[in-house]
């Protein structure tokens, strides 16, 4: 259909004269008719295919309903290939029903609807000159009428008013939550605020899932125990106040520790931390100082603890120093002691905030953090 080319076949760059174009536009190629356009048999066949697909789609929906009412979910689910039969059946039949409708419509478009390419002319995106001029004039007239240029005091005070009004919704976001300072000051729950945990002097170290206290003599060299403070598991005997809901989650998220036992001579105690271990037993915060994932991958021969999130690695024999990875700070160490019954207890809370760094954190070197209150 070469008569369909645009008036200027030499492409659209007004600044490029046509003569430098090496090849002239041969125009749109001749349209070729499809079998379905000219052969009645082919047309009928396509029609049958399309109707067939739509009908088959209905069959799939019936199968879908059948699966919905027959396949079990809940306690005893039927399985196909180890997968839930209900899910597989519903998914497959819904999928097929939809795919058949889609394929049918597209087949209809491709085989039976006209495949004749049409040409539409483009128009400049920008408005015509006179429209622009008229709009600018209208804008100018409107602005003049309003006097927004002539009355700067009115204009500026309006801007000021709207700006101040806009502050009110932002102000109302204030009660989204208490700040760290408020949380710390209010102390509505034990260990409130970023600089505190529920650990305190003489609190027993207990196993994290069951809450049983850890006897120092029960730990073998190379053992690792995921532990919590006893306050996480309040009972009548230990007398700790009830913890539940958010307070419990917050307490767990900061107080979690790992307790490991190594050869006492392997330990290089940090400055002022000579008495923080008990017979080679040391405890460190389980919360990574990078972005706060709980750390748990321990290599007993090297005493290295690796965070599974971003692979920061800490040396538990050397004050939790970072030996590899993106963490910028050593793991906080919990000073340990044993009580009269031989159970592990804390000498104090952590001497520095646990978890990820933040702006207000007054980070100090290990030697400058002061003693645990013994």
């Amino acid at each position: 259909m070469s008569d369909l080319t645009s008036p200027d076949p030499h492409d659209g760059h007004p600044d490029t004269p046509a003569s430098v174009e090496p090849v002239t536009d041969p125009g749109l190629p001749e349209h070729t008719w499809r079998p379905t356009d000219v052969d009645e048999k082919a047309e009928k066949r396509a029609e049958r295919q399309i109707v067939g697909m739509f009908m088959l789609s209905i069959v799939c929906v019936i199968a879908f309903i059948a699966v919905y009412v027959t396949a079990n979910v809940g306690d005893d689910w039927t399985t196909i290939l180890g997968l839930g039969a209900s899910n597989v059946g519903l998914g497959v039949f819904l999928g097929l029903a939809l795919l058949l409708i889609g394929a049918g419509i597209i087949q209809w478009a491709r085989k039976l609807m006209s495949d004749h390419e049409m040409v539409e002319m483009r128009h400049a995106i920008a408005s015509p000159e006179e429209d622009r001029a008229a709009t600018l004039a209208a804008l100018q007239a409107g602005l003049e009428d309003s006097g927004i240029g002539r009355r700067p005091l009115v204009r500026n005070s309006l801007f000021a008013a709207v700006g101040v009004v806009a502050l009110s919704p932002i102000l109302m976001l204030r009660d989204l939550g208490e700040t760290n300072a408020q949380v710390t000051a209010n102390a509505d729950y034990p260990g409130a605020g970023l600089e505190h945990t529920v650990w305190e002097k003489n609190m027993r170290v207990v196993r994290d899932a069951v809450g049983t206290p850890v006897k120092a003599s029960d730990l073998q060299i190379g053992d690792l125990v995921n532990a919590q403070p006893e306050a996480i598991f309040p009972t009548k005997e230990n007398g700790y106040e009830d913890l539940e809901g958010a307070a419990l989650q917050i307490a767990k998220s900061k107080a979690a520790i790992v307790v490991v036992r190594m050869e006492p001579e392997d330990i290089i105690p940090g400055e002022g931390r000579d008495n923080w271990s008990v017979d080679g037993i040391v405890a460190y915060s389980k919360i990574c100082t990078h972005v706060g994932c709980p750390i748990s991958l321990y290599e007993r021969t090297t005493h290295h603890l690796l965070c599974p999130c971003h692979q920061s690695t800490f040396d538990l024999a050397d004050s939790g120093r970072v030996v590899f990875g993106p963490a910028g700070r050593h793991l906080p160490q919990l000073p340990l002691d044993v009580d009269d019954e031989g159970y592990l207890i804390a000498r104090s809370d952590f001497t520095e905030p646990v978890g990820p760094s933040y702006w207000e954190r007054d980070s100090k070197d290990i030697g400058d953090q002061g003693e645990a209150d013994v």
């Binding site: 080319t5 125009g27 749109l28 519903l90 478009a109 979690a256 993106p326």
Partner: protein
């Protein structure tokens, strides 16, 4: 009943058909027009022409997967409880019965095990989300590599980039909602990201979590963001994206009869409506099949969130992988200034770097048109090879993305390929800088050599694979001139014009004022086009055509004469 082939419309211009008898459809249209007055707009748009190419379908995949997300998402809201209050799970999944968990997690388990089709909807929703973001990314690459973002479509590029950013955030807020161990670990890390922001970090964190992490507000707040705030903005932006697409008319590939002034293709009604509508069902059907057959995010295997627990190989969804990789390979640098701490090791890779990358993405069209000085409208697409620097720039960015993404899986690579994680990390720290540079250079030279090849085909003909033996016994391959259509398509591109200060003149040749960075601009423009191969001039082409015809003639003559002997 075959079509009368002489009566098919070939253009949308010309007079509209007027029917004598009003049809039923016509009556409805009249009723509507008397109330809505859409007749004028519809006159042009009902039979609007859309060009056809497989790559134009990628944006459609994104659009339709968004619709699937809306449909399946509404379904999920009927059963999901956005609450962190602690409940004891008593549902059908035996392994977790009696375990205390948040109501959010328990209701997610109920959807998965006790609502018929619930697991299907959950899995379809998650698969559609992956498809949505993947399709947006590939669509973005298509638009970029073909130069479809050039004037007048820069604003649509910006809208599209915002859609990608919001889609990513929407994905994060969505996969956090089940409150399982994996997603909780993600929220835990996000808390660390926020806290790393200097001065305001803890405030942002405490406001978002309603106090200290984890609190009991984050799930309901993420839920509101996930089902109302971001989808609302996404819908508005998608509408704007589509309206601009219609207003600009779609770009097309150059070819015989396809010029900057026209658009050649099929009419919206019925062909494109049918194809696009049918394609919706295809996308919907594919996600249904995936939801039925491919397990995704089995939260019951991870268990409920517990801030003291974690699983090895914890990773975010794939589209979050590249900033996570940056976080992994960043050296652990932290500054203590007075009594304050700046965690560069978190702040730079996870807050600053993605922001910088996104800004670069937004600026690409403006950067290119500033460097090239090209202020023309472009409706014809360019082959990637014909804009070597543009292509190389994106391949370079893609290489950076890919290396960061690989870094996000450094632990898995170490395990599966039995390599040292330390070495992988050290190597990647270097590669993220060197790799993109190498990729840029290689891609650029590759494009230029492809341009040379195009000119060779144009001037010396295509290789036919027919070997000729000359009288002297030498062998040569017969070359054949390409068809006029192919030759036209190969040359249907503008010649590159370097922007220079000297050339910056108005129509009367008067020097125009240049900006402060004109010198830099001129140098960049030269570098941008350096070594690009231009299409042959008319003389070169005619000469080569004559030569080809002559060679062909000689061969025939030789064959003719040898057969006479």
């Amino acid at each position: 009943m075959s079509i009368d082939t002489s009566k098919v419309a070939t253009t949308t211009s010309g007079t509209a058909a007027v029917s004598g008898q009003p049809t039923k459809v016509g009556a409805v249209a009249l009723w509507a027009d008397e109330r809505l007055g859409l007749g004028t707009a519809m006159k042009k748009n009902l039979r609007k022409v859309f060009p056809d190419h497989w790559s134009f379908m990628l944006g459609e995949v994104a659009l339709w997967s968004f619709v699937v997300l809306l449909l399946t998402g509404v379904f999920l809201t009927l059963w999901y409880h956005p609450s962190m209050s602690e409940v004891t799970y008593e549902g059908s999944y035996a392994q977790l019965r009696g375990v205390s968990m948040s109501d959010a997690m328990a209701s997610t388990l109920d959807i998965s095990f006790d609502v018929r089709g619930g697991l299907l909807m959950r899995q379809m929703h998650h698969w559609a989300a992956m498809l949505f973001i993947a399709a947006m990314m590939v669509h973005l690459l298509r638009v970029y590599f073909t130069g479809a973002y050039r004037k007048p479509r820069e604003i649509n590029w910006v809208i599209g980039s915002l859609l990608l950013l919001l889609g990513t955030l929407e994905g994060f807020t969505g996969y956090s909602l089940p409150d399982d161990l994996l997603s909780g670990t993600g929220i835990r890390a996000a808390d660390g990201f926020m806290k790393s922001i200097p001065v305001v970090g803890t405030y942002i964190s405490f406001f978002l979590f309603g106090g200290e992490f984890p609190g009991e507000s984050i799930i309901p707040r993420l839920y509101m963001i996930h089902i109302l705030l971001i989808p609302g903005i996404l819908l508005a932006l998608i509408a704007a994206h589509m309206l601009l697409l219609v207003a600009h008319k779609h770009t097309q590939w150059p070819g015989p009869g396809r010029t900057e002034q026209n658009v050649v293709g099929y009419p919206l009604l019925p062909v494109y409506m049918a194809k696009a509508g049918g394609f919706f069902f295809i996308v919907f059907g594919v996600t249904a099949l995936m939801g039925g057959l491919l397990s995704i995010n089995p939260v019951w295997k991870f268990g409920p969130y517990d801030p003291t627990k974690v699983t090895a190989g914890s990773q975010p969804d794939w589209y979050m992988g590249w900033p996570d990789g940056a976080l992994r390979i960043m050296p652990g640098i932290e500054s203590h200034i007075g009594s304050f701490t700046i965690a560069w090791n978190i702040f730079l890779p996870i807050i600053v770097m993605p922001g910088v990358m996104f800004t670069i993405l937004l600026l690409l069209p403006f950067l290119e048109s500033w460097i090239t000085g090209d202020k023309r409208e472009h409706h014809l697409l360019e082959r990637p090879r014909n804009a070597p620097t543009r292509t190389a720039l994106m391949v370079s960015l893609m290489t950076y993305y890919a290396l960061m993404w690989i870094a996000g899986g450094n632990d898995l690579i170490a395990i599966h390929f039995d390599m040292s994680i330390n070495q992988i990390t050290y190597i990647l720290r270097v590669l993220v800088f060197v790799g993109p540079a190498i990729a840029f250079y290689v891609t650029r030279r590759w494009c230029i050599s492809l341009q040379r090849h195009d000119n060779e085909v144009l001037l010396h003909g295509r290789e036919t694979g027919v070997l000729m033996r000359s009288v002297e016994g030498g062998y040569s391959e017969k070359h054949e001139a390409v068809s006029p259509e192919r030759a036209y398509t190969l040359t249907a591109r503008p010649r590159d014009e370097v922007w220079t200060i000297a050339g910056h003149k108005d129509e009367n040749g008067v020097q125009l004022p240049t900006g402060r960075f004109a010198g830099l601009r001129e140098r960049l423009s030269r570098l941008w086009f350096a070594d690009n191969v231009q299409k042959p001039s008319q003389e070169e082409y005619d000469e080569a055509a004559a030569h080809l015809a002559h060679a062909d003639h000689e061969e025939h003559a030789e064959i003719g004469s040898s057969s006479e002997h």
